[in-house]
């Protein structure tokens, strides 16, 4: 089955972007876009609507955490998932304080990504009901 939801992947490593794209495609998400840095991501966000943003933390330019803050200023509702190797509880806490919806630690298993997408779907369906 295929989902129409637009997903934006933000990561400075091309290999990482491709890997995640592949995993997402495996879950039925084909409408996936990417950006290599926070600035580009924010520009894209201003231009288009996205349902999910997968955000790396450690990037050149503005960091993922900073991007997250700015992104929240732009869009309160977009589902943002941090995808980072920085898995310290401190980071997680900070990300949650900045309004993140999920946190995936690299290296991730497909199951983790799947769970996160489930969480997104659940939220969407609850939102529909509400």
């Amino acid at each position: 089955m295929a989902y129409k939801d637009r997903i934006l992947i933000v990561d400075d490593v091309a290999l990482m972007r491709d890997l995640l794209k592949g995993v997402l495609r495996g879950f039925g998400y084909d409408n996936v876009h990417d950006a290599s840095c926070g600035e580009d991501a924010l520009k894209l966000m201003q231009r288009d609507n996205f349902s999910i943003v997968m955000l790396d933390i450690n990037m050149p330019g503005i960091s993922g955490m900073k991007t997250l803050q700015k992104l929240r200023e732009l869009d309160h509702d977009v589902f943002v998932v941090m995808v980072s190797a920085h898995s310290s509880a401190e980071n997680v806490k900070q990300a949650i304080e900045n309004g993140v919806d999920g946190f995936i630690v690299k290296p991730y298993t497909q199951k983790k990504v799947g769970e996160m997408l489930e969480k997104y779907r659940r939220r969407v369906s609850v939102g529909d009901v509400g």
């Binding site: 089955m1 995936i104 199951k111």
Partner: protein, 787 residues
Amino acid sequence: MTGKQGDSAVRNEKIVVTDDWTRNWQARIAIKITAIFLWVIILSGFATVVFFTKDLDVHIEQEISHDLDGVAHRVQSALSRQGSELGPDSGDGVRLLIEEAISQNGVEITGHAGIVGFRFTVAGQSFDFGTLRPGLASAKRQIVTPGGVGDETAELEAFFLPAADSAKQTRQELIITVVVVLLLFGMLLSLTIQNVLAKPLQAMMDAIQQVSNGDLNLRLDVSRKDEFGHLSRFFNQMLSRVQTQQEALTEANRELVSEIAVREQAEQKLRAHQDTLEKVIEERTRDLEVARDQALAASQTKSAFVANVSHEIRTPLTPIIGFAEAMLHGGQDRREQEQSLRTIIRNGRHLSYIINEILDLSKIEANSLDIESIAVDPFALLSDVESIARVLADEKGLGFQLAYQFPIPRRITSDPTRLKQILMNLVTNAIKFTAKGQVEIAVRYDTAARQLSLTVSDTGIGISRDKIERLFQPFSQADYSTTRQYGGTGLGLYISKRLANLLGGDISLESVEGLGTRFAVRVSVGEVDDLELANAVPAADRDDLVDLHRLADVQLDGNVLLAEDSPDIQRLMRYLLQRTGARVTAVENGERAVEAALREDYHLILMDMQMPVMGGCEAVELLRASGCCTPIVALTANAMKEDRERYQAIGCDGFLPKPVEQAKLYQVLGKYLPCRGDQAAAVESPGERQEDTGVGEIVAQFLRGLDDYARRIDAALREQRYADAQELAHQLKGMGGAFGYPGITACAAELEVALKGGDPRLAAAPGEALVALLNSTALADAVPETA
């Protein structure tokens, strides 16, 4: 009292007008007035007389002279008219002539005033008239006789009293007359004045005297128009006022007297009260003394209890420490080691039991014991009790029997934990105090009282009559020697009785010393609308019961994350978990737990709630916020209902009370971990097809069953059989993830939650979503299988 007597003395004093007072003439106004008048009259009369008779002698002399002239003149005229000569023979004629002159002139010869006599001398011849006596004064007039011889002259001499004498006499007469007249007049005046002034005064005085003697009803005559009349009126008014005031005063006095009487009565009452109060105080004091003695006794009992408790705690601790140390030092063979371990475990359990009882007791004493009210299967509960009791009885070589007297409710509403606690307490007691024979639990349903009656009988040592009363009291166990001999805290029965009360029933006891004891527990079956009665022991509900044997046989698989700061408990838990075949990752605080849970895939997280650095609650919240949906079971000693509710609210799926019981732990593990060899449950991505043929067949079966599930759920929802729908959703939730379809699990869970919420409308959307997902999954994945 003395003052009052004084007052009345003054009031009663009479003014007495004494005889002396009346006799004293000076004191009488009438007499005074009369005297004054008399004096004034006499003096003024005297003075008037003197004043008016001042020139009386001159006046008399002039009058005499005048009279003499007059008489002389008449005599002259008479003589002239006659013209005759006076001879000696003409004596009688002369006399007549002169008498005529005297009378014609109006002179009276009375003899005592004025002229008293005349002497007419002519030609040596004298004619006397009136009474002539020596000592009289005289005056002469010359009378010329006509025709007489030459100038013959006659002489008229008037005799009279000397003027001074005459005046004096006149004055005296006058004075006497005046004084007499004035005296009479004065007397009259005095009488009048007395009438006008003194009499009313006297009357007034008498009245005042009478009034002053207390007769206030007296009134004066007010007919008079003068000042006395006014005075009388004023006096009467004053008297009226005084009388009114007197009456008011009397009234007031009467009131005062009655008030005083009332006061005295009140005072008497007060005194009586005071006496009562004193008596009450005495009683209270006695009561307080008794209470104090009781408190002291209680305190002593508590001290004794604390001593006993610490003894009870130390008792199992000694073998625990001793045997553990012995093992640590080594030198024991395998059998001895096992023996030591068993001892340690047994004593550890006992210790835990004692502590629980003390905690229960303190909660009961503080009235803070939570009692649940949920559906309880009495058969399952009794079966649990039986399984333990039978083992204990077997160990002592006793018989054990569980006898049902049907019908018995299939389900009751009660608190299963507490009910079980009561039964376990009674049964273990029964076994403890029974050396040979048997222990029996008899179960019966009292329809009338809507109570479940559970009787625990033994053939033990029994309890003497005098000890039965004290048996249910806290801190006053009949005899600590019993505790020494048989163990236990002696609190069990008290706790059990109170729990039975809380469950709407009670515990009673019959015992014959030496023969045995029978405890009868009655608990309410609670608010069950439709009581389903069973006439036989129903088949055990496998879903609800933990099958320890199955767990022992079937090895579990899967990854468990254990967050626990205490190294000892961590080691124990790791051991218990690994025994089932599960793989364990242990961390020591919440932060490590969050990091590990996000990094790795776990089937289950066991989270201690009290940890340093980051507690369990925060860790669970972080994990749930960051999208982790691994089941989390809270480990905690906070067994309160609110705590459990809080843990559930922040995202915990389950709850294990500490200290962890193996059975419960395995129940939890069985719920979340897949069985070994059940490859379908292994962590796989749903995108990957199961290659293993055996597993593939299982998955295929699962998938083939999905459309059936979809149908049944759809039907249940449409026909509003929400309980059935919930059950189906629950089953799917368990299976989905295990077969590699976490989406189904999530979706089913959502439906289940919605249905549990009690509002079926909220279930519509997730229901449709689940049915759609099931249908699509069944289609998408079943096609290649059938192909």
